[in-house]
């Protein structure tokens, strides 16, 4: 299937002009990019509404670009000087970045510039990623405050995500003074949720409206969150204005290398920004995005924004890729990506899926990353397998096939140590294989739940979760309570107990499950579990007279089954519902050995081919 891409008028992305969220923080920014200095200088008018019953005397802001100011920031201290396999400590002074506020005042004229100070919860006085803004007059419950800022954002040569690369590629993400979230914590106490930038944490923000004007070189292609609503150009400069509504952040990029591909999925405008070298991927990205839009529409909920921009960075700036921002996602690929490997599609779908989990269901990515990364991985697997084949969605070459769900499961089960794999923890508390826990264990847990309750019930549960909590900040307890309520309305109490036990054990514990057939002896078979987690499963027994016997096993304690006839094979969970099982191979045992002649013969000829190839050069 090929996608037909056509040039559409920019008016195809039209702001909805309807308020979908409770807008707490609105930003009206106007910046000019000096691409020689890699710096955006401008103004910001921030309107913040106090959502609490308390008077607020202090504001807190993320100043995350300062994490790339030097090696002393909390984020970089956590790296040992190496990020994505590259030493960064010895870079030139101009390759570091920062964000600084030159002036800040309240609309009524009070100057707050002298009040501001960096604060550090971790005691690292060199970290400047969070700014405190004490107010001269407090903001009363329900009232608003309008701040006027002059600021400068200097991009670093890319360390991770935000930064500049070769040939004037710039990606501005977590780049401006941005308010934290004033909310009730788990104990119900109001306060600022505004963490320093730490390793293994991402972003969290309030919903609001972003009205953003950017002036930059006329030769650049600009991509940004929201819809382009105005553009003009004078003297080699272009000015573009973007409007993004009901989003929690705003990201943008410029590059002279990016080509624009546009299309529509129903009334959603899709804008792809692809470097010339990756032209061959444009059609694949477009199809993947449309598949994702279609799939979410059918199985979760309507995409609530008028447009989506997917940017594939040039390869020299791949460190800027693979990340999610509201209505703007970055992908990544290489020149000549072969069609049998769908890694780029999978990642593009993953980042797009974040529009739902992080963008609309705007969880705190720092404290409970599983709520976005885990659900996103689960849906990424589903979408990929629905459109590219259950067993071939990742890889299909020379008879070697690999599907997304199998890959997610493998990332979890092949972890060396399962002793600390509780999912629902802040990023900074998770040591070891972060991806295996937060992404893959969650996806495998959800796949297991889906196998037990059926895909239809899973969709029903997730649709109602999405409808009920969209444009809010759901927490772990939000999902757990929702699942409990939903399951109680659909299943018996004993079934609910089993499913909730699965969810809670995975989220808050590290118990594993590994069922195995201990032995078969004539007409007796013994089953056991190497782990402490259990779920009920079917046991399929086949006798030598070819009779099939199905039995149930709760998995909590060893089970011995005796039949009237000699058993020829036994299979625990033959449908592989319990996808979390650490080893599916030992779930079955038979008295007759399988024949591996295919592999023996293939090995023989492969060895011959290899020897012949080597001896060609001797």
């Amino acid at each position: 299937m090929t996608s037909v891409m056509c040039k559409l008028s920019i008016s195809q992305c039209t702001p909805l002009n309807e308020i979908q969220s409770v807008r707490i923080a609105d930003y009206e920014m106007n910046v000019v990019l000096d691409h020689d200095k890699k710096m955006a200088t401008g103004t910001s008018i921030i309107t913040w509404r106090n959502p609490s019953p308390n008077s607020v005397k202090e504001l807190k802001m993320y100043m995350y670009l300062n994490s790339f100011k030097n090696m002393k920031s909390t984020w970089l201290r956590g790296t040992d000087g190496e990020v994505f396999g590259r030493q960064i400590a010895d870079r030139a002074p101009e390759e570091w970045g920062f964000v600084t506020i030159d002036s800040i005042s309240v609309m009524d004229g009070q100057d707050l510039t002298s009040n501001i100070k960096y604060v550090q919860a971790d005691g690292n006085l060199d970290d400047e990623s969070v700014l405190s803004v004490p107010l001269n007059r407090s903001v009363r419950p329900g009232d608003s405050i309008v701040l006027m800022l002059k600021f400068r954002s200097k991009l670093p040569k890319t360390i991770a995500r935000s930064g500049y690369g070769e040939n004037n590629f710039h990606l501005f993400v977590h780049w401006y003074p941005k308010l934290g979230v004033y909310e009730q914590n788990k104990e119900g106490i109001w306060g600022w949720n505004c963490h320093q930038f730490m390793q293994r944490t991402e972003f969290y923000g309030n919903f609001g409206k972003y009205d953003m004007t950017i002036t930059c070189d006329d030769s650049f292609t600009v991509g940004a969150s929201g819809c382009l609503i105005e553009e003009s150009s004078t003297d080699d400069l272009q000015t573009v204005r973007y409007l993004a509504e009901d989003v929690i952040d705003f990201a943008w990029c410029v590059s002279p290398e990016l080509e624009v591909y546009e299309d529509l999925w129903e009334d959603v405008y899709i804008r792809l920004l692809v470097p010339r070298d990756h032209r061959g991927m444009a059609d694949r990205y477009m199809m993947a995005t449309k598949h994702a839009l279609q799939y979410f529409d059918e199985h979760l909920g309507r995409y609530p924004y008028p447009g989506i921009t997917i940017m594939d960075p040039p390869f020299h700036s791949l460190r800027n890729g693979f990340m999610e921002y509201p209505t703007f996602a970055t992908a990544g690929t290489i020149y000549g990506m072969p069609g049998w490997f769908k890694g780029s599609e999978s990642l593009a779908i993953h980042e797009f899926a974040h529009q739902f989990f992080m963008g609309v269901l705007a969880n705190n990515e720092k404290e409970e990353a599983w709520l976005d990364e885990g659900f996103v991985t689960y849906y990424e697997d589903r979408i990929m397998e629905a459109y590219y084949g259950q067993h071939t969605s990742q890889l299909d070459v020379f008879g070697i096939k690999y599907g997304n769900s199998a890959l997610s499961r493998q990332e979890y089960v092949s972890m060396r140590d399962h002793s600390s794999t509780a999912i629902a923890r802040p990023g900074w508390e998770i040591t070891g294989d972060y991806k295996g826990i937060v992404y893959s264990k969650t996806a495998t847990m959800l796949k297991t739940l889906e196998n037990y309750i059926s895909v239809e019930k899973m969709d029903e549960m997730m649709r109602s979760y999405f409808d009920e909590y969209k444009f809010s900040h759901p927490r772990t307890s939000t999902f757990v309570n929702h699942a409990d309520r939903f399951l109680k309305s659909s299943f018996s109490q004993s079934e609910v107990d089993i499913y909730m036990n699965l969810i809670k054990a995975c989220l808050f514990g590290s118990d594993t499950v590994d069922y195995y057939v201990e032995h078969i002896e004539e007409n007796v078979v013994t089953l056991n579990n190497k782990g402490a987690l259990s779920m009920p499963v079917d046991i399929e027994l086949i006798t030598i007279t070819n009779d099939t016997i199905i039995q149930k096993w709760d998995g909590a304690s060893p089970k011995t089954i005796e039949t009237g006839d000699t058993i020829s094979s036994v299979h625990i969970d033959p449908q592989e519902k319990l996808y979390l099982d650490l080893n599916l191979n030992n779930n079955s045992l038979k008295i007759e050995k399988s024949s591996f002649s295919r592999y023996i013969l293939k090995t023989i000829t492969s060895v011959q081919h290899a020897l012949q190839s080597l001896s060609f050069f001797l």
Partner: protein, 278 residues
């Protein structure tokens, strides 16, 4: 060049029995490794339904679970492979001695094949090892700096296409120098077998012939090398994409291996045709 290629192919077809002998020797090595793979699978998933699944087609998840549960399952195979490679390379010196001398004398006698295999073994071994070292040095010099600095190079280039082009460029240079070394290696042996001079004189003559006729000899190397690669590619492609009985598939793949051995014989014969002309 085309004349030599045609003659080479004609001679190689006439000497198909020798190619068949080489196929049988390779088969013995293949059976050793194949048997170990069979044992490893038997012991790890032989009595599991997963084995049944696996026997019908490669299932990566089954393989991963097996590797996790039996990390040492394939360790015997991993240990055997380097031994097999070294052993075969040592034996292949003998086979080449027999093959080259039989083609030179244009005699299909098994006696001559074995006699000359023994007679030329040590001179050919020395020549072979010398060129193997040179090929290793060439490989390290050309590829290691490029691959070690790949990330830095890519990030400093405006286009990743340029990086791929630089790989292609290095690849072309590699093939051109490799062809020189391999041609010189074969020519040295041909010279030794034809003229019975010292190893050093044969090496000198081998390089001299190769430099003198660099372009056509490189053409011959690339032609037969490419043909051999094509047969390898189609062998893998057919084996993985067409569902056929495993034994039929085995026979078809063996035929492809056999054709590749014939191609190598043809390459020797073509070079010899040129050497005779010189």
């Amino acid at each position: 060049m085309m004349k030599s290629i045609k003659r080479g192919l004609g001679i190689a077809i006439r000497f198909w029995r020798l190619a068949f002998l080489i196929l049988l020797v390779q088969l013995v090595f293949g059976i050793i490794v194949g048997g170990q793979v069979g044992n490893a699978l038997d012991h790890s998933i032989g009595f599991s339904q997963a084995g049944e699944l696996f026997s019908h087609g490669f299932d990566y998840a089954v393989y991963q679970d097996m590797s996790k549960e039996f990390p040492d399952a394939l360790s015997n195979v991993k240990r055997t492979i380097p031994i097999i490679i070294i052993a075969y390379l040592i034996i292949s010196i003998f086979l080449q001695g027999g093959l080259i001398s039989s083609i030179i004398k244009s005699e299909k006698s098994w006696k001559l094949f074995f006699q000359n295999g023994v007679r030329y073994y040590f001179p050919f071994l020395i020549i072979g090892l010398l060129f193997l070292v040179l090929i290793f040095v060439l490989t390290v010099l050309l590829w290691v700096p490029l691959l070690m600095n790949a990330i830095g190079i890519v990030e400093s280039l405006a286009s990743d296409r340029l990086f791929f082009y630089s790989i292609y460029t290095v690849g072309i240079v590699y093939i051109l120098v490799l062809s020189l070394l391999v041609n010189a290696s074969v020519n040295s042996r041909i010279n030794y077998a034809m003229l019975h001079h010292s190893i050093f004189s044969s090496l000198k003559a081998g390089f001299s012939w190769t430099f003198k006729k660099y372009v056509p000899l490189t053409g011959i190397f690339i032609f037969f090398g490419f043909l051999s690669f094509l047969f390898l590619y189609f062998s893998i492609k057919i084996d993985s994409s067409i569902s056929m009985n495993v034994w039929v598939s085995f026979i078809v793949t063996l035929l492809f291996v056999f054709f590749r051995i014939v191609i190598k014989s043809a390459y020797y014969a073509a070079l010899m045709d040129y050497a005779e002309a010189i």
